[in-house]
Symmetry: C2
Subunit: 451 residues, 2 copies
């Protein structure tokens, strides 16, 4: 496929940039027209690449793009999943170039979505186009691109339930994750689940002057800090009652296998600019993000946050809190346990409201599966070494849903790198990974046979 | 003075509203022109009221308005202090009417600054005007209105040092505080000081995806919450090392005197909409805000605070933290102690920056002073009962500075009420208090003689 990439490179850039330019931020209500525009452009790209069917399908939220080329019942069928929605871009001032005007610098594309997931889903469209145009396609291919992954895929499960027949396949192929490093390819065989809630702590029913009331009236910010602080104990364990009940402890043998993944703590700390790592006692850094659940405050706000000083004792304080879950933990149950616990620790002098945002369960796929084996051969051929099976810390809750609804295992063949800083300013995607990914995906088709 | 008020009421409203309409928010850089406009309008009002001198004086920050009517060296001289700057107005959506378009509803003026301090300083201008026009003035009067009280008066002390002669007086008369209730007049004979800092906690050097890193990398919001939570112990005492060293414990007798102030805990809780009060163990609510120091988070922010959910593990978290101090605690020393303590409790996996905002010392004035006695007689005549000496929780740090620089005691004859919700949305000032205040101030002049 190398020659094909070389010949078509400029067109590839033009096409990819045309979708990167659309600010398809799913969490921002005012971006609704951009969501549709992006979906329509993707359907167009699928048709141009060789899909005989490509449509924008309404859901209860942002639309789904479905495309397919179905030739022969006897051929294996690959369902490609991706998402065209992106994260918000704030803090905007930290971006070196416009997040929605892609720029190539130092061998990488810089734009929101350059990697997550527009860049990665684009590799699938181009690998498919290559196989079609060169007459090498021996698979039925279906594309399912959703527009709500970054907000927890609230509509896709219901849409998939209604379209089980349409989505029937032998594997769900996904590129929405990272490799261990540029030189260490890896295939993600498990992802953490997610429970995400917003909490509100209310003290007095109006903002007060901190001079007149400070010391006599509980300050909801101080109380929220107390409550958040109590959620993780001195050993780095989450104190929510019942939180670990369903967590399966891994065997020493399994932990040994996972520890094969190369990892340099010094490099890791340097990359993040931190002096020390911090996490649950008794587990390594990779285990803490791979096989152990975690709890993070994703956002906090309350009181006066503007320029200068305001001596206010505020009425309300807020936080967005998320928990990453491991397989066997149920997202809905954890959300419930968290809510009960958080209410139970609220002192008398405040009231608490909890709003669940979204969530999903984790999952695990067998290394022995034909899809894993095909991906492994494909990546080995492109990178020159056998990829490492890894466990991912991030969540693609919808994949656990699709697995349950369609009865098909997802395979996570991701080409992102840590350096891409997805969800952060200056998201990027290395051209090298973009092109290696296209090549590896085209080889996946070569090696993947129906089980 | 009642008849004079009745005759001139509409003009009084027009004049007061003309200054309330100017958005003189001292903390907002873009309001600089409004600050000047407000100062000029005040100088104009002073001249019209009978000042033979009224000028806008530049300082290193927002200008000071100085006005005076100096007639006879042998007369006692009153220095009126007030401030024309106001607090920010956010959250704007909670205001029932435009904060800078005053409205009279249910017997009160609603506007930012209606009480604090434009409404209260206006009473002094009108009491002065009455005495001048009726030929009853037997005092030299000086007016000092600053534009930086809400940001900690960074420039006034230096300006006062340079203008000691100009400011020479027998008393500093201030209306910038509240009475205990509408039916219980009080005179504030002490105020708490203030130390106000902004803290920044930095974890990783960029925002991270909480799925990829959550559990392995310290989240600066969680760490900030831990640190804030540790600042107050289970007994409601501040844990900053050395914090209480200079606090003078009051004698049982003094505590008894202060407890004379009528106080109904049920009403207090109802007014604030809280089920329980919270504060330092072993002290009453009035003591907690009057004679004991306190610590409050005035603002907190970090991570994603927009609509919906973003799974970010942020790089930075911020808080504005203020401490109210009692007389004998030194603001600069406390800021230093806080900074040292906060740095000392920062774990290895984060770094901490501390920016002092502003501060000032508390002060106490003798009840036996001629000024206190004159104020007491004046208020008793207007309200029909003797005012209660009280201790205020709020800070007017600059008064401690003026007391030190000029060697004159300040007298806090405030007419605000709790219901006025200064610093909050829908700040108001009762017309009844506005007019009673004018009357009481005119009577103060009647009873105040040089000591």
């Amino acid at each position: 496929m190398k020659t094909y990439i070389e010949t078509n490179k400029q067109r590839f850039f033009d096409e990819l940039f045309s979708i990167l330019r659309i600010p398809s931020i799913s969490s921002a209500a005012e971006r609704k027209p951009d969501m549709l525009k992006c979906a329509e452009r993707l359907a167009e790209l699928l048709r141009e690449a060789g899909a005989d069917r490509a449509e924008v399908c309404p859901t209860s939220g942002h639309p789904v793009v479905f495309g397919s080329r179905f030739v022969d019942e006897s051929w294996p069928t690959v369902l490609v999943y991706g998402h065209y929605d992106v994260q918000p871009v704030d803090p905007l001032e930290l971006w070196k170039s416009d997040p929605f005007e892609p720029e190539i610098r130092d061998g990488a594309i810089y734009a929101r979505g350059a990697n997550d997931d527009k860049g990665q889903l684009f590799m699938h469209i181009k690998a498919f186009e290559y196989l079609v145009r060169e007459g090498k396609l021996r698979h039925n291919v279906k594309f399912l691109f959703e527009g709500e992954e970054e907000i927890g895929s609230p509509s896709l499960a219901a849409w998939a339930e209604k379209n089980r027949e349409l989505l029937k396949a032998d594997v769900i192929l996904v590129s929405d994750t990272t490799m261990i490093s540029e030189s260490v390819p890896s295939i993600n065989c498990g992802m953490r689940g997610l429970s995400y809630v917003e909490v509100k702590v209310t003290g007095p029913d109006k903002d007060l002057h901190s001079g007149h009331y400070g010391g006599a009236v509980a300050n909801p910010i101080n109380v929220l800090c107390d409550m958040i602080s109590s959620l993780i104990d001195g050993d780095g364990r989450i104190t929510v009652k019942g939180f670990y009940d369903d967590v399966v402890e891994l065997s020493d043998e399994d932990r040994m296998k996972l520890s094969r993944a190369p990892f340099d703590l010094g490099e890791y700390k340097d990359f993040l600019g931190i002096r020390e790592v911090k996490g649950e006692k008794g587990y390594t850094t990779l285990e803490r993000t791979g096989i152990r659940p975690s709890l993070d405050v994703n956002g906090i706000w309350g009181g006066y946050t503007g320029e200068g000083a305001k001596t206010v004792l505020p009425s309300e304080a807020y936080a967005k809190i998320s928990m990453r879950l491991v397989p066997n933990q149920d997202s809905a149950k954890i959300t419930e346990l968290f809510s009960e616990h958080f209410k139970s620790i609220a002192p008398d002098y405040v009231s608490v409201e909890i709003t669940p945002h979204h969530g999903g369960n984790g999952f695990l796929i067998p290394i022995s599966s034909p899809a894993y084996q095909a991906a492994s051969r494909a990546m080995a051929e492109v990178y020159g070494i056998e990829p490492v099976p890894s466990r991912g810390g991030g969540s693609i809750p919808v994949l656990a849903d699709l697995q349950r609804i369609l009865g098909i295992d997802p395979l996570l063949m991701g080409f992102g790198l840590e350096r891409d800083t997805i969800h952060s300013p200056n998201e990027s995607y290395l051209l090298k990974q973009l092109f290696s990914g296209m090549e590896a995906i085209s080889l996946f088709y070569k090696y993947f046979e129906k089980k």
